[in-house]
Amino acid sequence: MILVLLIVILMAGGILALIGGKWSHSFPRGVALASCTVAFLMMLSLWLGRYKGFNIDADSNWLIEYHKEWIPSFGISFHLAVDGLSLLLLVLTCFIGILAVLCSWEEIRERTGFYYFNLLWILAGVAGVFMAMDLFLFYFFWEVMLIPMYFLIGIWGSENRVYASYKFFIFTQASGLLMFLAILGLYFVHGNNTGFYTFNYFELINTEMPPQTAIWLMMGFMIAFAVKLPVIPFHTWLPDAHGEAPTAGSLILAGLLLKTGAYGMLRFVIPIFPGAAAEIALPAMALGVAGILYGAVMAYSQTDLKRLVAFTSVSHMGFVIVGIFAFNELALQGVVMQLVTHAISTGALFIMAGMIKERLHTRDLGQMGGLWTQMPRMGALGIVFAMASLGLPGLGSFIAEFLILLGTFNAQVWITVIAASGLVLSAVYSLRIVQKIFLGPPRGQLAADLSGREMMIMAALTISIVWLGLFPQPIINTARPAIVQLVQMLEPGNSLQSHQSYVK
C-alpha cells in the first residue's frame, strides 16, 4: 500500500498545487515541498526499516508488492513491486524531488501552480517507472514522466525552449513508440505460446522465443532506453533539453530521467532477453566507450555551461552502459553506484549553473571568470563537484567508476583500457569548468555568495557525495540481492529457468 501511497501523494500534491496556484503565488511551492518531504521520509523509513533484510539467502528479493486487476480482459493489472534496486532509486527520486522544489523556490515566478503540478507529476511518473511490474502500466508511467517534462522545458525554459522541448518530445516519444510495439510483440508471443495473454512482468520474463524474435523485440526496448540514457548516437536531444530547461528541469533530467534508461536495461532488457543481450554486449560496450570519449571531448568544447554539463552526462552514462554489458557483479554494483552518484554530482553542477545564471544572467562561460573572489563558498563547492565529476577517490563517483572499470576488466580488457582513458579527459573538462567560472582575473561582476537556502541545498549534496565515497556499503548491500539475481540469470544455461520470485 505504501507504494500506491507514494504515487498518490505526489499526484495529489500536484493537483493541489494546480488548484491552489489560482489564489496564491507561494502556496504551490509549499505543497510541493511538503509532498516531496513526506514521500522522501516514507521511502527512507521503508529503506531503513528493511535494511537488515537485504540478504541473498532470502527466497525472494522483492520487498513489497501491490497487485490489483485493472483491465482484466487484456491481462492488464495495476502491479507495483520494489526490490533493493528500485528502493534505492525511489529514495533518490524523492531526494532529488526535494532539491528540485528548493532550487525552484525563487527562480519560478510565473504560473507556479502549473509548474509544481508538472514537477510533481514527473516525479510520480519516475516513481511509477521504478515500481511498475506490469508492462502496460510501465509504459503508462513512461508517458506520465514525459509530457509534464515537455511542458516544463517548453514553458519555463530559456530562449530556445520551444525547439528544445520539441526535440526532447520527439526523441523520447518516437523511441517510446518502439518500446510499446516491442511490449505488444512480447505480449502476443507470450500469449501465443501459452494461451495466456498478460502484461505481467513475472510471466513475461519466462517467455520462450526464437533468438531472431528476441533480438528484434529487445531492440525495441533497447532503443527507447538508449535514447533516455543516452547512448550515442541518440544523445543529441540531451544538450538542448538540459541547456534550455529551468534548473529543476535539468536536475530531474540528469538525476532521474536518464536513470530510467539504465533501470529499464537492468529490469527488462537483461531479464527478459538474456540471450539476445549477450549477443549485443560487445557492440553496446563499444558504443558506451565511444560515448565516454565523445561526450568528454564535446564537453570540453562547449562554451555554454549547461550544455557542457549535459555532455559530461553523456560521458558518465557511457560508463553505465559499459558496466551493464560487462554482466558481472562488480560492474553492475558500479552501475548502481554510478546512477546514484551521477544524480548527485551532476545535479549539483546543474544547480550551480542555475545559481550562477540567477546572478549573472548568462550561461556563457566566456562571460564568467574570477568569481572566486566574490563567491568563495560556491567556488569551494564547485571544486568539490568538479572533483566528483572527474572521479576523485573519497567521493562517491570514484567508487562507481572504479567498480565499473574493475568489473569490465574481467569481461573486456581493451574496452576497459580505452574507457579508463576517459578518466584523463574527465580531468581535462572538469578543471576547465573550475578555471572558466571561478579562477582567472575577476571581471568585476557583482555576485552575492550563496544564501542560506542555497547553502542548505549544496550542503545536502556535498554530504551525500562524501558519504557515498567513504561509506558506500549501504548502497551496495541494498542492491546486492537484485544484482546477484541478475548475474545468475546471465549465466549460460540459466537464462530460461524460472526466476519467479514473488513476495512471500
Partner: protein, 630 residues
C-alpha cells in the same frame, strides 16, 4: 601507544575541516596559523611517540596495522580502511610530518600578507593528510585515494594565486599529466586484483613469487603500469614537464609538495611494491634507465635556467632520477635514504629561495640577485648547508653519503652497470656545476636588487633546523670502508631486501674518490666561469652551436613543444571543429529534408485555379499514358 596511529593523519584532517569552517565563518590570521601549523606539529609529535613505541615493540612481522572500517565489499573485493606502519612508512611519515611542520611554521610568516591565508593552510593541511594516507595505506585502493588526493592539493596550491591565468594553466597541466600516470596505475590495480585476488599490499607481496614466474609478461606489464603511475607523480621522463611549471605556487608549496614529499610518491610506490618489481628484470632495467636519463636531462636543463626556483625544480627532477636509478639497480634502501636526505636539503633550498625572492620584490631571476652573502647572513649560511648537500661535498655533507651510495650501487649492485654508473657520475659533476652557479650568482658579486624586508623568526628558525639535518642526517648511514655505520638500512631491511652486489666491496674507495673528484671539479668549473672569469662565459655564448644547445636545454629539451604538437593541439582542434556535434547534424539534416519537402509540396497549393486545372490535366495524361504503355 601505537594505537594512536590513526591520529597522525586525523590531526591534519581535523585541521583542514576546522580551517574550512573558519574560511566560511571568517577568522583572524592568528587562529588560522595556530590551527594550520598546530595540527601538523601535533601530528609530528604523535609520530614521534608512535614511532618510538613501534621500534620498541619489535613486531615479529615488522608491521603494525589498525583497521578503521570496511570501505568496500563487493563480490570478492574487500577493501578496508586500514593503516599499516612498517619501517618504510615510518621513514616517510617522519619526513612528512616533521618537514611538514617546519614548512607550516615558515608559511605562517611567509604568507602573512596574503588575503587567502585560511585557504592556504586548509589546502596544506589537506595535503599532509592525503600524503599520510598514501604512505600509511595497507591496500592499493586506499593508497590511490591518497595518491589522487595529493594531486588535488597540488592542483589547488599551484594555482593558489588564481587571478593569473598562467598559474591556473600550470595547475591544470600538473593535474592532467599526473592523471595520465594515475590511469595507468589504476589499470595495474585491476590486473593485480584479478591475478592475486586482493589489493592488500602485504598479501600481494607474500603471494607474488607463487603467482608469477619471474620475468613473465604479466608481471612485467603490471610493474610497468605501476611505474607509469610513479613517473607521473615523480615527474620522471616522459611525464616530467609539469614540475617546472608547478613553481607558480608559493615557495612553501614547492618545498613541501614539489620537493620533499609528493614528488617522491613514485619512489615510495616502487619501494613498496619492490617484490613485484623484483620479479621483472625488464621493468627494473626500465626504472634504472629512466632514472639515469632523467637525472642527466634535468641536470643539463638546470644548468641553463635563470629562475632560481626553476633551477631547483629541475634539480628535484634530477635528484629523483637518482632515486629511480637506485631502485632500478635494486638498491632499495639507498633510494629511500637519498629520499630522506633530499627532502631535508631540498625543502631547505626552496624555503631559503622563497625568503630571498620575497626579500627582493618577488624577483625570481638569479641574474638580478647577487651580493646577498653579507646582507642576509642567516639565509646565506642555511642555503649553503643545503647547497653543499645537493652538490654532495665530500665528507661533510649528508648528500655525499646518500649519493655516493647510489653511485657505488649503480656500478656494483646486481642490476648495475658501468654505463649507468658513468651517467650517474656525469650527473654528479653537473649537479655540482649548477649548484655552485646558483650559489655564486645569488650570493656573490654585486647586489642588483634592493632588499625590501627581512624574513622574521618564524621563517628563519625552520631554516636553521633544516640546515642542521641537511648536514648531519647523512651520518646515520656510512659506507663500508668508512665507519660502516648502517643504522638506516638496518631499520629498513625488515621491509626490503639487502642490495645484492655483483662486485667486491674492496674497490669502493676508488668510486668514492671519483665521485668526490666530480663534485669538486664541477664546483671548480663553476667558480672559474661564473666568478673568476665571467668574460670567458661571454665568449662561449658567441658560439652558434653552444648557444643553440643552450636554447634547447633551456626549453627543457623541447618536450613542451612536442606535447603541444602531438597531444594538445590536435585535441583542441578536434574539440573546436566538432563543437556543434556532427551527430546532431544528421538529425538537423532529417529535419531540414522534411522541411524542404514540405515547402516544395506546399507551393503547389497556390490557390490559383489555372495551376490546379493544369495539374489535373497533367495527372490525367500521365495516368492515361501509363495505362497505354502497359
Amino acid at each position: 601507544m601505537e594505537n594512536l596511529l590513526w591520529l597522525i593523519p586525523a590531526l591534519p584532517l581535523a585541521g583542514f575541516l576546522i580551517l574550512a569552517t573558519l574560511a566560511v565563518v571568517g577568522a583572524g590570521k592568528k587562529i588560522t596559523a595556530l590551527v594550520g601549523a598546530g595540527s601538523i606539529c601535533l601530528s609530528a609529535l604523535v609520530t614521534l611517540v608512535v614511532g618510538a613505541d613501534f621500534l620498541g615493540a619489535a613486531h615479529e612481522s615488522g608491521t603494525y596495522s589498525q583497521t578503521l572500517w570496511t570501505w568496500l565489499e563487493v563480490a570478492g573485493l574487500s577493501i578496508k580502511m586500514t593503516l599499516t606502519l612498517d619501517a618504510l612508512s615510518l621513514v616517510f611519515i617522519f619526513v612528512i610530518t616533521f618537514i611538514g611542520a617546519l614548512i607550516h611554521i615558515y608559511s605562517a610568516g611567509f604568507m602573512e600578507e596574503d588575503r587567502d591565508y585560511t585557504r592556504f593552510f586548509a589546502s596544506m593541511n589537506l595535503f599532509v593528510f592525503s600524503m599520510l594516507i598514501l604512505v600509511l595505506a595497507d591496500n592499493l585502493l586506499l593508497m590511490y585515494l591518497g595518491w589522487e588526493g595529493v594531486g588535488l592539493c597540488s592542483y589547488l596550491l599551484i594555482g593558489f594565486w588564481y587571478e593569473k591565468p598562467e598559474n591556473g594553466y600550470a595547475a591544470r597541466k600538473a593535474f592532467t599529466m599526473t592523471r595520465v600516470g594515475d590511469t595507468a596505475m589504476a589499470i595495474a590495480l585491476f590486473m593485480l586484483f584479478y591475478q592475486s585476488g586482493t589489493l592488500v599490499i602485504g598479501e600481494i607481496s607474500t603471494a607474488a613469487p607463487g603467482i608469477w614466474t619471474p620475468n613473465s609478461t604479466t608481471v612485467t606489464c603490471i610493474a610497468l603500469l605501476l611505474l607509469a603511475g610513479g613517473l607521473g607523480k615523480s615527474a620522471q621522463l616522459p611525464l616530467q614537464t609539469w614540475l617546472p611549471d608547478a613553481m607558480a605556487g608559493p615557495s612553501p608549496v614547492s618545498a613541501l609538495i614539489h620537493a620533499a614529499t609528493m614528488v617522491t610518491a613514485g619512489v615510495y610506490l616502487i619501494a613498496r611494491m619492490h617484490v613485484v618489481f623484483g620479479l621483472s628484470e625488464v621493468a627494473q632495467t626500465v626504472v634504472a634507465v629512466i632514472g639515469a636519463v632523467t637525472l642527466l636531462l634535468a641536470g643539463l636543463t638546470a644548468l641553463t635556467q635563470h629562475d632560481i626556483k626553476r633551477v631547483l625544480a629541475y634539480s628535484t627532477i634530477s635528484q629523483i632520477g637518482y632515486m629511480f636509478l637506485a631502485l632500478g639497480v635494486g638498491a632499495w634502501t639507498a633510494a629511500v635514504f637519498h629520499f630522506m636526505v633530499h627532502a631535508f636539503f631540498k625543502a631547505l633550498l626552496f624555503l631559503a629561495a622563497g625568503a630571498i625572492i620575497e626579500a627582493l620584490h618577488h624577483e625570481h631571476s638569479m641574474f638580478k640577485m647577487g651580493g646577498l652573502k653579507d646582507k642576509m647572513p642567516v639565509i646565506f649560511w642555511t642555503f649553503m648547508a643545503g647547497a653543499i648537500s645537493l652538490a654532495a661535498l665530500p665528507l661533510i655533507s649528508s648528500g655525499f653519503y646518500s649519493k655516493d651510495q647510489i653511485l657505488w650501487y649503480a656500478w656494483g649492485a646486481e642490476g648495475g652497470s658501468p654505463l649507468l654508473w658513468a651517467v650517474a657520475l656525469l650527473g654528479a659533476f653537473i649537479t655540482a656545476i649548477y649548484t655552485a652557479r646558483m650559489v655564486i650568482l645569488t650570493f656573490w658579486g654585486e647586489a642588483k636588487t634592493e632588499i625590501s624586508h627581512y624574513p622574521g623568526k618564524r621563517m628563519t628558525i625552520p631554516l636553521v633546523v633544516l640546515a642542521f639535518f641537511s648536514v648531519f642526517a647523512g651520518f646515520i648511514e656510512l659506507p663500508h670502508n668508512f665507519g660502516h655505520f648502517t643504522l638506516f638500512s638496518d631499520l629498513l631491511h625488515g621491509v626490503m631486501p639487502e642490495t645484492a652486489l655483483r662486485v667486491d666491496v674492496s674497490s669502493e674507495w676508488i668510486f668514492q674518490l671519483l665521485a668526490a673528484a666530480a663534485t669538486l671539479g664541477g664546483i671548480g668549473l663553476a667558480y672559474f666561469y661564473y666568478y673568476k672569469q665571467p668574460q670567458r662565459l661571454e665568449n662561449l655564448r658567441q658560439d652558434m652551436v653552444l648557444s643553440a644547445l643552450h636554447e634547447f636545454w633551456f626549453s627543457g629539451w623541447g618536450f613542451d613543444k612536442l606535447y603541444n604538437v602531438v597531444f594538445v593541439r590536435p585535441f583542441l582542434a578536434i574539440a573546436k571543429l566538432n563543437k556543434a556535434d556532427v551527430i546532431d547534424q544528421l538529425y538537423t539534416g532529417i529535419v531540414a529534408g522534411t522541411d524542404g519537402l514540405y515547402r516544395l509540396v506546399a507551393r503547389t497549393q497556390s490557390g490559383s485555379l489555372r495551376w490546379y486545372i493544369m495539374g489535373m490535366v497533367i495527372g490525367a495524361i500521365l495516368i492515361l499514358g501509363i495505362q497505354m504503355m502497359l
